[in-house]
């Protein structure tokens, strides 16, 4: 689009928004006015005073005002209490809005009414929660609860489709409310604007029929599953990373702990959490927008299936088809076929949450005595080097630009070696001039023992990067990575490999990595 037409289109949008705003203001004024009148009438209706005893009123000139208002009140009450029987179960606009799904046998009128009466809690309004909420709001789910304690960041926008550029910095819950309300104003949106905590989980979940786990940590997955089992709610759980996604419908049907006919819970499938060092977030591992989008959309789909099948009466539940057998759906964007379904076990006889021997109780959850964070383990920040093996970005900037603080020498381009240990794809995005890329995956795959051994046999078979660094034994080596963790492990590895020549050559890392470099030294260095 040419810039002029962009400007024109923006002008038009502003004009239309201003018109909308004017319209809303006049609607508001009207509504306020009629509310005021209503209050005035109510006041008249209820006003009684000894000074104007209505019975003392002379009826010759008509009924006393107080009687009149009483009569009106009675008349209007009759209307309030017995509205004319509705001719159709849905409003006219609802037939229009949901028409395309109403005509499907899977939904139909009964299904739509069930959606309308249903309440769904979405925990996490990110890459999964945004598309899930959008489709559930679109489908006419009566109430949507939104739980998230984060605010919108620019790096969310490629996948978290309810948020927008203009709402960066707003809480995710508020941003989602704006988007969902404009999508379907008939849906009641309930904000829960803080991170889900064990203390609040039960009271938060209680009022909902179904829960969607759209979170991104193992601890929250166990907490959500336990809470759903305790409250008898079905749980639709999904996750995604890089190019892969996983989906399970858990506790389906939702039966009390000990009832083996209930569906398995998260603990049945994964009784033990993953080792914390193996848990990779989207921020570290990356995520393709449509991959997490697919998983969120599938959550909405499973939710609709569960809700429209839900039965109101025991008689109905006998005739209702049983839910699908438990399964794990695996999505893999770069595999063929992309989707696979794995058959899952039934409830585990010794499950800590849903078996007869369950140790997870409401008290244990809400009192905080079940420590989910500890259960899943926490990773400590890497602290592998001594202070003398680390340099601040300020001092490194001096090495590059000013006099070398260690030697007092003038800067020169090849006074040192700067090693960047990010993976190649990240290095290609942006890097410091003159740096060499030695990805951490290659560094960590290099065995110190083997290298030492091969050192004796004249470096035959030694990895290229090691021999390359050996060729410049005098130059100090500075190691940098994204955040300053891998760089420390790399320095350690280099010393194990003997690249420091028994301490003659300085090897160290840049504290805080390229993030610190950008924050302190070079504001233009890209943030990703």
């Amino acid at each position: 689009m040419a810039p002029t037409s962009i400007i024109e289109s923006l002008r038009q949008q502003i004009a239309s928004c201003e018109a909308q705003l004017r319209d809303l203001r006049s609607q508001l004024a009207e509504a306020e006015h009629s509310q005021k009148e209503q209050r005035e009438q109510d006041r008249l209706r209820h006003a009684t005073g000894p000074s104007s005893d209505p019975l003392g009123h002379d009826m010759t000139y008509g009924i006393h005002d107080d009687f009149r208002s009483e009569v009106f009140a009675v008349l209007s009450q009759v209307e309030d209490e017995r509205p004319p029987p509705r001719r159709w179960p849905l409003d006219r606009h609802e037939y229009r809005r949901y028409g395309r799904q109403l005509i499907m046998p899977e939904i139909g009128l009964q299904g739509q009414l069930r959606l309308k009466n249903a309440s769904v809690l979405i925990v996490g309004v990110g890459g999964l929660g945004c598309p899930a909420a959008a489709y559930l709001a679109g489908a006419g789910v009566g109430t949507l609860g939104l739980v998230d304690g984060d605010t919108v960041e620019e790096s969310n926008l490629h996948r978290q489709i309810l948020h927008s550029t203009g709402r960066v910095g707003m809480t995710k819950v508020d941003s989602a409310r704006v988007a969902l309300n404009s999508l379907n104003p008939n849906v009641r949106l309930v904000p829960h604007s803080s991170r889900l905590a064990p203390e609040t989980a039960i009271s938060t979940f209680q009022q909902y029929d179904l829960v969607l786990d759209c979170t991104d940590t193992p601890a929250s997955r166990y907490l959500i599953s336990d809470t759903c089992v305790l409250l008898g709610k079905t749980l639709v759980s999904a996750s995604a990373l890089r190019t892969d996604g996983q989906l399970m419908v858990l506790n389906n049907p939702p039966r009390p702990p000990g009832d083996t006919s209930g569906g398995p819970c998260y603990r049945c499938v994964f009784p033990k959490p993953p080792p914390p060092e193996s848990v990779v977030s989207c921020g570290d591992g990356g995520i393709l927008g449509p991959v997490v989008g697919v998983m969120g959309v599938l959550q909405a789909l499973e939710a609709i299936k569960v809700l429209t099948r839900a039965t109101q009466s025991p008689a109905e539940s006998l005739s209702a088809p049983p839910p699908d057998p438990p399964s794990l759906l695996i999505f893999s964007a770069y595999s063929n076929p992309m989707f696979r379904s794995i058959r899952l076990r039934a409830r585990k006889p010794k499950c800590a949450a849903c078996s007869a021997q369950a140790s997870v109780t409401s008290e244990a959850v809400s009192s905080g005595s079940l420590d989910y964070v500890q259960f899943c383990g926490a990773t400590n920040p890497v602290d592998a080097l001594s202070p003398s093996e680390r340099i601040s970005v300020e001092n490194y900037a001096k090495v590059r630009l000013d006099v070398n603080p260690f030697t007092g020498m003038e800067p020169s381009k090849d006074s040192h070696i700067l090693v960047d240990t990010r993976e190649k794809v990240q290095y290609d995005l942006c890097s410091l001039e003159g740096s060499v890329n030695i990805p951490f995956s290659i560094v960590s795959g290099t065995s110190a023992a083997r290298a030492r051994w091969s050192d004796n046999s004249q470096t035959s078979g030694e990895q290229d990067w090691v021999s390359e660094l050996r060729r410049h034994p005098d130059k100090p080596i500075f190691v940098v990575c994204r955040l300053g963790n891998d760089s420390q492990l790399t320095v350690k590895k280099m010393k194990e490999l003997g690249l420091d020549n028994g301490g003659q050559r300085w090897i160290g890392d840049l504290k805080g990595g390229l993030r610190a470099w950008r924050d302190v030294i070079d504001k233009d260095f890209p943030e990703y």
């Binding site: 993953p274 890497v382 960590s444």
Partner: protein, 146 residues
């Protein structure tokens, strides 16, 4: 001799395990051949397979090992786990680590163990189930992003 027979099975690694086990290969599957009997003459079972994978297949990625593992302490000789022992997110001390699922011919191995237990009327320990020729055994690690 019967003891010399071999079985062919397919191994698969999903959810990011492919990178760990198979390195930069494009495939997430590999075919392997195993002796059908252990040294003591028993039919090979899953436990045997896990050891085989651990000893022969796992790429030794240090990212998954030291420092970040609370059980590791470089100053305490008792806590300096040998590299192999601390190594993998998949197998530890011969057992599958938390957060991983073993899938045999498209079903959770616990599911197969349950079915087998019902069929035989005895308790079945999942990793003692025997492997048959043609089995497809996959390892799925949980994802947590959202």
């Amino acid at each position: 001799m019967e003891g010399d027979q071999t079985i062919n099975i397919t191994l698969g690694f999903l959810g990011g395990l492919d990178k760990l086990v198979l390195g930069d290969l494009d495939e997430n599957q590999m075919a392997i051949r195993l002796s059908s009997r252990t040294e003591t003459g028993k039919n090979v079972n899953l436990k045997y397979l896990f050891k085989h994978i651990y000893d022969n297949l796992l790429v030794k990625s240090e990212r998954l090992v030291p420092k970040r593992d609370p059980r590791y302490d470089e100053n305490d000789p008792g806590k300096q786990l040998p590299f192999e022992e601390a190594a993998s997110v998949l197998i530890e001390n011969g057992k599958i680590r938390g957060g991983n699922l073993v899938v045999i011919n498209e079903a959770d191995w616990e599911c197969i163990a349950d079915d087998l237990a019902e069929e035989l009327g005895v308790e079945v320990v999942a990793d003692e189930m025997e492997i048959s020729d043609g089995d497809k055994i996959e390892f799925v690690t949980t994802l947590h992003g959202g």
